[in-house]
Structures are given as structure tokens and as C-alpha cells.
Symmetry: C2
Subunit: 721 residues, 2 copies
């Protein structure tokens, strides 16, 4: 075998760049002075450290004041830009006139003062140049210090030492894991670049573990609950592990822009063996189906415990786990859902649908895709790397897309910049702009291969952007944060601005249109038949005849067709104006995939004028719900019971059915496998749990099998102290 | 073993994105119409194609007008935005009134009209919506068409077909490799985003194969010749291969920004098994030493012939091969050298040097590095993705650096933006800004670990930026394109602007300085002894005493120290004002590495005032030259001889000595290994060659062995027709 030499940097780098928070800092216990002091050393006793109290219990001052009391983590957890306290017990009272000592905070290998990875904090305010430090209290041998980390300091896990200056050198306390502390982002203080003024949004986007994620269709929105679990045992360490695995230099970890960008790469497994393996195939035999997860905790703990990517995810799983990561570190974050999201088009504002000469969709030549919905994250931060005005909510997206500057990551991209077409600022703004602003262009292909654009739908894509409302279970429509109203003057200006920065659009002047076509929306239960209506409207005042083709497909939520279920060929006059197409359960039930979306496209040509009419309709089939019930006294540390119940109302058996249930602060994830649920039978699964924490929570359950996915249910609980 | 499932996208993507120019397009030879024509088909003979003449010889119109006649490539090579010609011989004269045909240009798998990968060109101007097309001439059965590719079309290798419409369907010519054509960027036309108005620069940066690369020190610049060889046989295909290997989507290949960015990643082997493996270790046993290469041709052909990364490169090799890539595709490009280039500091404008209490350099704590020089590329293009004003020269850099947004690539970053501190625009501008603008900050470390900045040198880094002058072998100082004059008001404004965008600087007000120190520059031959002078200047009018330490190191060109060769400890009064330190050959000769740089730092403390004085000096030891001579008549296709001669003037033997020689258009790369060159002996190597092309050229030779690197020589030749 041939030797394949690796890049060697011995002659070009003085040392490796510290990029792991797990690799311990090296600080000597005794550091002798280079030169012995002139004259004989003084014989006085030097100061000795007997004990250090980190004041790290949840009910003590630090975790209370820093909003970190809910972390299931024994270490001290504080937020930057805000004072915290440490008490030191010396061998004798501290004498400021002759005793010199410092608290030393260190992070990563080879800590350096000038890199902000080694920070000495002195008891006198005037000596401190990096972080603040002052004596808050002294009584006998015990001295309590207040330490104020800079509001832009590195976020992560620090080691803490007490260093005492003696005539012979510096003497330090031993390395002690119980004195480690975590410093997080602080959205509560103005100097932190993640400061979020709105208190309700801050509480929701940092402290709420209970999420709602929207899916389905814009005019028939479904929702599912999610346990972000950012305070659960092991999650904070898992977040640091992800940054270590991604080798994010320690010195970059004070910058929320760099952390969010790195995480958008690391949450997916592409390129870097990151957290989640994507799978849109329908075959989830080697892992957990994306629709089956109910929270982020299992996923993050599984990843951190070995570093192997976890199977499987689709967009909402990426977004939910990313959300846990961001909230856990203290960066305000939320999951948003964009309905009709354009994909894979790399800043090109067109999604093409090709019709043949007769106006029928040419499937073999139509390659672009519009996802029925797509979930991504917004995180809140100042953009110190950009001109003023682009701070605030930023899009980040961990779902691996085909093209985002050659790597599987996306953002942060300023939402304000996207709304205003200022897509020249990093990162990946043209990509996100296209996701909410693409036009759907219908081309007609003539015999010799030329394409003529015949219709442009400018309002289909980016139809609705939703996120959970702060402090309630309601929906917040944030479409207007991404775009100006359809047809407004501002909208036109923005599209022109984006074009200046290289976003390409189709220039189309389609022929005069006096016939309109609409397919009204429908709410349909899975397994039911329904009538699909085609409503034609003739505004010409003259006779019009339309030759209209209707295609129906079972599609993935990504818009990719799986099977054709319906084809109706043409000739309709405009009397009657409504044409009804019957869809029977047997047309689609055997062919359903995943989230059970049906997609209908009707296209046709008006005989008299040559006008092309088109309409599209996505129908999300409604799933049965799980019944989730609790019994027992909802009190901390008292046993309760949860029952998940489901009846198979279908005419077929369900096989290999996974049922899951969990609740933040209340119940860790449990799951159960049913090999078979016969038609007409009911399953009922009861588990006991012991709530760990008081306050409101939820028990969330999911049921998942090959034939039926995305079945969920939940129940609210309020745990008393 | 455990199954590790890969990401599956079956349900999320309609088809793979075409990202290879090598995978052939699929175009059917006969494409029947879906519906048979109504009524009986007409019985007239349809048009048939007998022959196609691509007019692709170097002396024919296309290659002459498109400046592509020097490519050693049999295919047609043209530039976009400029008309070229193709002649078609039919079975009978073409009758515009009834014969319908089109030339079809296709690129990549699954070509699509709406993606610009399938372009039909018709003989009538009004039918053409994408590229221009017109009949230039008809005589008998031969029709000559003029084709005008859009000035923003995809660059690469197209297939060409003639499609004739018959009543039954479309009939095409067979796939024929001899009818393939390359379309390149066109710096000669205004509509192309790589348009370069200055004719001399355009000729230099697109058509010149002979390069000069600067190295050494800013006040003692050395140069070496380089054979870019962008027109040599196989190079154009190698460039397309690189984009294919990097899976750059075909639809992105019309955009020079995307191509340059992708290539900055692909020219190095990190992340993507790209072209060149970096090695700064001094051990090049498994490959060719970076100093040994004389041109890009061997490297690119070796890579394209198998796809394995080539060993080894340092910065100028990366830059030179990148330059070949860019010029070959028609993007104007040049190699530039930045003297005293700050590295690895990720947008932090500081390079720290730590001194102990006495003013002596603390090597163990000084980790930042300044390269003696660093080479990167500039390429010329409009930046349609940015606001107006940021087009023109753009920095791209393929040398793998530690930190560039987590991936080993850099740029394009607008030089204008760097000069003006507008580092908020992509790509990687803060990084390049730091390379030319970092401050060198000297910190003094006190006993308890605090650091106090004591001196800032703001003019050391980015001292000089050089590139070869267009049309001559002279140097062009382009420092002023990167920065305003030191100390000017504009300079201050720019630094403030860059700080607004997150570039951090050290705020230092060092104590009053009335003693200055300078180490004058020296030109020293390798093997010689020399006197290093320390010049103190006391402007106080009072007595001053300095305790000055001088350290001498052998350093790599990256500034990384390899061995200490000198240490002189302190106490100097300011009379005499000059102190001389003798350096003997035996101090350094046994310790030399690579390019034989010596680095001296003198630091000291003024006793009376506490002021810290510092000075640094890099000495590049001058190497012996190779003697290169030619004999014979310099005429195309006549045999000539080249002799490379070298005398070992050292007192030691040279072992395993590689000698190379090559000349663009004149002699392909040859090399020879001498196992031993004893002291005092002379080697003389003669090879024959046959010039392939007329005009000026150069024969460039290098000699390289472990003990002596970067020995070069060259001779000019002018080949007569
Ligand atoms: Ca990844
Ligand atoms: Ca690479």
C-alpha cells in the first residue's frame, strides 16, 4: 500500500489552536519566579487557601440571579456580563496591604491572557483590566468576592484556581472539577450581543422547554409538541461536546455568530460526523423514524455518549435539536415553519414547472421542488460583523441542503436583510431569500425544444411563516418580518434590490388572462374519500372552453412525488363553472408515504385564446390522535401514571408500531414497541413517572409505524411543589 | 460490524444536481413528437446534415479572434459574449421558408433549457432568446452560422448537436467528441463580469505563462520564475476536472465568484482531496519539496491523472497553481506577495509578543506567528453579489490556514473593501484585512500573571505587497491598493471602520519613548559570517542606559523558530550608540532549514525610565544561483540544448540533489537526481529540447536537497518561427 502523507504544519504553526473545551487547561501548581528576589526572602507566613465555596446550589444567589437554577447540572452556571459570587476560606484573615492573590479563570488548552482564555481576577477593582472583581464581604477567614465576567467573554466551561503570590513564586489551588463553572450567554444584559429586550420573548426563547412545531399546509396547519429539554441532565455538556467535535476554536466561542454558524453545520452529520443523519427515504429500519421523536434529549445524549451521528432526522428534527442547543447556551432561539418553501435553487428565484404543448405537466422535465413546509431556526443577536441595522432575528438552518456555498450549513442570515433584499451580507442570505420569495414559473415547451414562460405565480412560495407565540400555545404569524405585502410598492423595490445583488428572476409578461382557476382547500381525514372541486371563473364576457388536465400525486412533504393516484384528461367548457373530481380512499391509501400529503395540479389551455390556466392544491390528510391521560397527584417527587391510548380505525393492521412518551422535567423519554395492532383494536400503555420539578409541563406522545406516521397526542400537567 | 446508514434524499430531491462536466449529457438522437401530426405527413425530403466544421484550427478565425490559439488542445475554444462560427454542410441548400433546424449546445447531465444547460440556437435572429445566432454565409449546401453565447453563460465543455425538425419528430446528429467546444471567460468584452479594461494587465494576467514570484524580505526581495503553463496540453481539462472533483454545480459555473471560491478550497487537499498537500515540516521524502517545483504543469497533470493530491506545497506553490487555473479559464489573475503577513489570528488585529519582567522575549508564551512573506492570488471580476464599488481585484488564497470560517479556503475578498475597512462583505475580508493590518503588540508579564502592553508596532505587518509588473520583468508595488499611508487620516478612519465590523484591536498608550532602537538590514550570503548592528538613538538629552537582550533564531519562512542560534544578555549604555554582535557561519550553518531565514529580536528596558525598546530583523541568506545556458538555433521544431551548471562551494557534501528544468512552450519538465555533490565539485547537466511555439520564453531550473533549498536559475530564449 502506498503511503499517503498528511498535511504537516510543524514549520508553519507554533502550536495547535485550542479548539476543545474538554481538553483540560494546564496550569502549574507552583510557578517559580525566573530570578530569585534580590535580598533574603521575608519570613512571614504566606496566605494559604483552605476552602472555596462556589455558591452553586440552585437556591443560592448565583443560579437564582442568573436564571440558571433549572439546569440539572451540579456545577456553577452563570451568565456573562453579570456579577456572580465565590467565597474563599483562607488560613487567616486576608490582609489587603500585604497579601496578594487572584482568582484565575482558564478555558481550553494553553490558556493565554491576551486571548481571553486565562483571566486573573484581583480583589481590588483598579487592578482588574479584563473582568471585574471586588470584595463583597469579609468575616474572619472567609472572603466573598464578586466577579463580573466581560459581556463578550468566551462561553463554555472554565477551570477556577486561587493563586497566591509568595516571595518564591505563585502557588495555586489544585485542579478540582467541583470548582469548574459554566459561563453562558446572557440575553438579560444590554452589553451582551444576544441581549433581547422583550421580556416575554426572552422567557419563551431561552427558558421554555416546551415547544410547538407547525407543519401541514398553510391553510390547514397542524402542530406537534416538542420537548427541547435544554435543562435536562447532560444537555449542556452535550452542547459543549458538539462545539468540540466541530473543532470551533475556543477563542471564537464568545461570538454568537460564529457559534450559530458552526452549529448549523454540526447539527447535521454531513461533512463533519455531526449530530443527525438525514433520511427522506421512508425506510428507517436502522434508526428512529424522523416522525417518531418527541424531543431533543434522547438525540443529544445519544450523540454525546460516543459521538456517532444519530439516525434519523428531517427538517423539524434538525430545527428542534438546534433550538435546544441555542437555548441551552443562552442564545434566544425559536423554530419557525415556512409554508411552501422553495429549495435547492441556489439564489435563483425560479421554480420551474414545464408543460407540454397541450398544457399538461411534463413530469420528466420538471425538477425543482417546493417543500410543503420547511422548518428552520431564528436566533437573536446583534450583528457586530455587519453595518448597523441587521441585528435581531437571524435565520440559521441545519437541514442539509444541496447548495449552500459548498457546505451543509446555512446562516446566520439577518431576517431584516432578507425582508429588505439586502442579500449581500453574510451568511447565505440569497439562499434564504429564495426560500421565501421564489416565483413558480410555468413554461410551455414547443416542438423544437424552446420554452416559453406562460404563467408566473409570485405568491405561492413563502406563503406563511409561523412560530409559537411567546408565553402561550398560540401561533404567531411572522410572515411580515420576511416580506412586504404581496403587490406592494415595497415588495417590488425589494425584489429589484435583491436582483442587484445577483438574485436572478424570470422576466415574464404572460398573455392576457381572462379565465381563472382555483381548487378550494379541503380538510380530509386519512382514509376518507373526498370531492376535489375545480372552480373556473370567466371574466371575459364571452364563451370560453378549457382543456384541463388534472394530476394527483402522493407526495413527500418535500414536494417530491411518490406515486400518481389520479389523472383526468381534458375538455371542460365553462358551463358548469365547477367541475368535481371524486377521490376514493382506495385511490391513495395503498400508496401513502410519511406525512400523507396529496398534491393536485390542474393545468389547461383556453381554446379560444390560448391562455394557460393552472392551479395547485396540497391536501394534508388528517391523522388520528393519541389519547394521553395522567393519574395521581401532580406533586414533585410523587409517583404518577400516564396512559397512552390508540384505536386502529383502519381496515388494515399496523405492524412494528413505536410509541413514545416524555415530558420535560417530569418524565424522561420512554418507548414501547407493538408488533401488531389489528384493525378495530385499541392499545393502552401505562407507565409511572416521578415529576422532578414544579411548574407547568406537558406529557407528549407519538405513534409511528411504516403505514402511519406523525400521530401524536399530549396532555398538560401542572406540578405542585 | 455496525451498519452506518448514509443520508438518503430519495424523498426530498427529484434528482441529483448536475455537478460534473465530464458526465456526458444525454440527448436522444431521435425525439418523436408526442402526438402524431393530424393528417398525412408531407412527402417532401427533410433536411439532412452531412458534415459540421467547427473551424477550430489555431490559425482559423475562431481561435484567432478569441485569443485561444495558444492552447495545446484540438477542440474549439472560444470565449463567451463574443461571436464564433460553425459551418454546416447539408444534403441540399437550406431553405429558410420550410427547413427548421437548430444548433444545440448542452453541458452536464440532464441539460435543461431553463437552467442554461441546454441552449438551442436558431438561424433566425428573432427566434433566439438565449444566445445570439445568425446566418453569416450560405454557398450551395454549406451554411455558416455565427453564434453569440451570452456573456454570463456557463463556462466549460459543451456538446454540440444539429437538430432538424421533421414531421415525425426531431432528428439529431450523433454524439461526436470532435464537435465538443470549450467556452471560457472573456476579459475582452464589457458584458462579461471578468472584463478588464487595461490591455496591458489583461495580456499579462490572462495570456502570460511566465511568472515571477517574490519572496525573501521586504528590504531584500528575492524572486523566482514560474511556468504557469496554462496553455499546455491537458491543463484546460485538468481545470475542469478540479471543478468536477469539487462537485461545483454546473449551473454555478458561469459565476467567477463561485468558481474562484470553490477553487480556493480545491487547490489544497484539506477537506476535499484537492490538488496540493501542504508540508512545512522540512521532511519531503514522500514527494517533491515545495522549493523544488518550477511550474504548475507537472502538478496539474499529475492530479488530473488519477485525482490523488500531489505532494508538496507551501504558499507560493498554492498561489502559482491557482494562478494557472484562473488564467486557463480566462479569469484575469496574478500572484502577489505580502511581506510580513500576519496569520492564524481570525480577524483579531493583534500579534502578541510576550516579554518577561526584564524585557526578554518569553518564547514559551509567544504563540502568534508572522510569516516573513505570504503569497496569495488576486483575480479580477465584477462583484455582482455586492453593492457597487467592490469589483476589481479580489483576494483569493488556497493556502490552508487554521481558521477561515471553519474550512480551508479564502476569498474572493474585494481589495477595495480591504483598503476601506469594509470587511462586512463576503468572503473572508476580516481575515485578509488582518493579514496586512495587524499590530505587533509587546506585552510585559508581571509576576502575578497580568500583562501590560508596552509597545505597539503598527507598521511591521503588511509592509510591502508586490506583484510582477504587466509586460515587463519588473516589480509592481501594490501596497497602496491594500492600505492608506501609515499615519494618514484615512488610515485611522479605515481602522475604525473595520473595528465597527468586529475586527478587534489593542488599545495601547505605551509610556513616553525617548530611546529608539534599530537593527539595519544586511545582505548576507549563505555560509558567510556577518556583523549585526544594534543602533540606539537617545532623543532625551539625558543619560540613558538600556539592558538589552538579543535573541537570534533560525526560522521557517512562516516565522516559526526552528533553533536558537544566538543569545546575548544585557547591559548597554548608550555610549557607544552602536553595539555590534558578531555572527559566525558555524553559529547557524548546521541548523539551517528551508529558505534559510534568520530572525533577530532585541528587546530591552531603559533603566532610567522603564521604557521598553524593541527591534526585529529578518535576514534572508542569499543562495548560490544555477547557471542555465542554451545552445543551438532558437527556431520552432529545431533541436536545442540546455545546460544547467552548479558548483558546490560549501565545505560539506550535498546529498540526493534534485535538479529540474522546464520552459513554457519550449521544454516540458525534466528532472535529474544527483546522489552526491562533493565540496568543490561542479555538476553540469545537458538536455535536448525542441521548441513547440514561437515567441519569447524562458528556461527555468531549480536545485533542491535537504541541506540547500530554493536554488534557482533561468535563461531567456526567443524562439523564431
Ligand atoms: Ca455537518
Ligand atoms: Ca481543500
Amino acid at each position: 500500500t502506498r503511503v499517503r502523507p498528511q498535511v504537516s504544519i510543524r514549520g508553519r504553526s507554533v502550536g495547535p489552536i485550542a479548539s476543545s473545551n474538554a481538553v483540560g487547561e494546564e496550569v502549574p501548581e507552583f510557578e517559580p519566579f525566573m530570578l530569585l528576589p534580590r535580598g533574603p526572602p521575608p519570613l512571614t507566613d504566606y496566605l494559604d487557601v483552605w476552602d472555596v465555596n462556589m455558591l452553586k446550589e440552585p437556591e443560592e444567589v448565583n443560579k437564582q440571579q442568573h436564571h440558571t437554577d433549572r439546569y440539572a447540572n451540579e456545577g456553577l452556571i452563570v451568565r456573562r456580563g453579570q456579577e456572580f459570587q465565590i467565597s474563599i476560606t483562607f488560613n487567616r484573615p486576608h490582609d489587603p496591604s500585604k497579601d496578594q492573590f487572584a482568582l484565575e479563570f482558564v478555558i481550553g488548552a494553553t490558556p493565554q491572557y491576551s486571548k481571553g482564555t486565562y483571566i486573573p481576577v484581583f480583589p481590588s477593582e483598579e487592578r482588574n483590566k479584563l473582568w471585574g472583581g471586588r470584595v463583597l464581604d469579609t468575616s474572619d477567614n472567609v472572603l466573598t468576592m464578586g466577579i463580573l465576567p466581560r459581556a463578550d467573554c468566551i462561553v463554555g466551561k472554565y477551570g477556577m484556581y486561587v493563586a497566591v503570590v509568595t516571595p518564591y513564586g505563585i502557588r495555586r489551588t489544585k485542579k478540582d472539577p467541583s470548582r469548574e463553572l459554566y459561563i453562558l450567554f446572557n440575553p438579560w444584559v444590554k452589553d451582551d450581543s444576544v441581549y433581547l429586550e422583550d421580556g416575554a420573548e426572552r422567557t419563551e426563547c431561552v427558558l421554555n422547554e416546551l415547544g410547538i412545531i407547525y407543519h401541514g399546509a398553510y391553510d390547514d396547519v397542524s402542530e406537534r409538541s416538542w420537548n427541547y429539554g435544554q435543562f435536562e441532565f447532560g444537555i449542556l455538556d452535550a452542547c459543549l461536546f458538539i462545539m468540540d467535535k466541530g473543532a470551533l476554536p475556543i477563542t471564537n466561542r464568545g461570538d454568537p455568530v460564529k457559534i450559530a454558524r458552526k452549529a448549523s453545520a454540526m447539527i447535521n452529520s454531513k461533512d463533519d460526523e455531526g449530530v443527525l443523519v438525514g433520511n427522506w427515504s421512508g425506510d428507517y429500519m436502522y434508526g428512529v423514524a424522523p416522525t417518531s421523536w418527541t424531543g431533543s434529549v434522547e438525540i443529544l445524549l445519544s450523540y454525546a455518549n460516543g459521538g456517532d451521528p444519530v439516525c434519523y432526522a428531517q427538517c423539524w428534527v434538525y430545527a428542534a435539536v438546534f433550538n435546544t442547543f441555542l437555548r441551552c447556551l443562552g442564545i434566544p432561539a425559536r423554530v419557525v415553519t415556512n409554508f411552501f418553501s422553495a429549495h435547492d435553487n441556489d439564489g435563483n428565484l425560479k421554480t420551474d414547472i414545464l408543460l407540454d404543448e397541450n398544457g399538461k405537466v411534463d413530469r420528466s422535465r420538471t425538477r425543482d421542488s417546493i417543500w410543503n413546509y420547511h422548518c428552520w431556526n431564528e436566533c437573536y443577536m446583534a450583528r457586530l460583523d455587519l453595518p448597523e441595522g441587521f441585528g435581531g432575528w437571524q435565520v440559521v438552518d441545519a437541514t442539509p441542503q444541496e447548495t449552500s456555498d459548498g457546505m451543509y450549513r446555512c446562516g446566520p442570515a439577518s431576517v431584516y436583510a432578507i425582508k429588505h433584499g439586502m442579500v449581500c451580507y453574510p451568511f447565505d442570505a440569497p439562499f434564504v431569500f429564495a426560500e421565501v420569495n421564489s416565483d413558480v414559473v410555468f413554461y410551455q415547451r414547443s416542438r423544437d425544444g424552446t420554452l416559453t414562460p406562460v404563467k408566473v405565480n409570485t405568491s405561492h412560495v413563502g406563503r406563511l411563516v409561523l412560530t409559537k407565540a411567546p408565553g402561550s400555545n398560540g401561533r404567531s404569524d411572522i410572515t411580515s418580518m420576511y416580506k412586504f405585502p404581496e403587490g406592494s410598492a415595497e415588495e417590488r423595490t425589494v425584489l429589484e434590490k435583491a436582483e442587484e445583488y445577483g438574485v436572478r428572476r424570470q422576466d415574464v409578461t404572460p398573455p392576457v388572462a381572462d379565465v381563472a382557476l382555483d381548487i378550494p382547500s379541503l380538510e380530509v381525514k386519512v382514509g376518507a374519500g373526498f370531492d376535489l372541486a375545480l372552480d373556473f371563473r370567466n371574466s371575459s364576457g364571452q364563451r370560453r372552453t378549457v382543456e384541463a388536465y388534472t394530476n394527483g400525486y402522493v407526495v413527500y412533504y418535500t414536494g417530491v412525488p411518490s406515486a400518481e393516484i389520479l389523472f383526468q384528461s381534458p375538455t371542460v367548457t365553462l358551463d358548469p363553472r365547477r367541475k368535481v373530481i371524486k377521490v376514493r380512499p382506495e385511490d391513495y391509501m395503498g400508496k401513502l408515504v410519511e406525512q400523507a400529503n396529496l398534491h393536485f395540479i390542474t393545468t389547461g389551455k383556453v381554446k379560444e385564446t390560448g391562455q394557460i390556466v393552472t392551479a395547485m392544491r396540497v391536501i394534508t390528510l388528517h391523522k388520528p390522535r393519541l389519547l394521553v391521560q395522567v393519574a395521581g397527584t401532580p406533586r414533585v417527587s410523587e409517583e404518577m401514571l400516564v396512559t397512552v391510548q390508540f384505536t386502529n380505525d383502519f381496515k388494515f393492521s399496523l405492524e412494528n408500531v413505536h410509541v413514545r412518551v416524555e415530558g420535560p422535567g417530569v418524565m424522561s423519554p420512554h418507548n414501547k414497541l407493538y408488533r401488531l395492532i389489528a384493525p378495530g383494536t385499541t392499545i393502552s400503555w401505562t407507565e409511572s413517572f416521578i415529576p422532578r420539578r414544579q411548574g407547568p409541563s406537558k406529557l407528549m406522545a407519538s405513534l409511528d409505524c411504516h403505514a402511519l406516521r406523525q400521530v401524536t397526542g399530549e396532555v398538560d400537567v401542572h406540578i405542585e411543589p
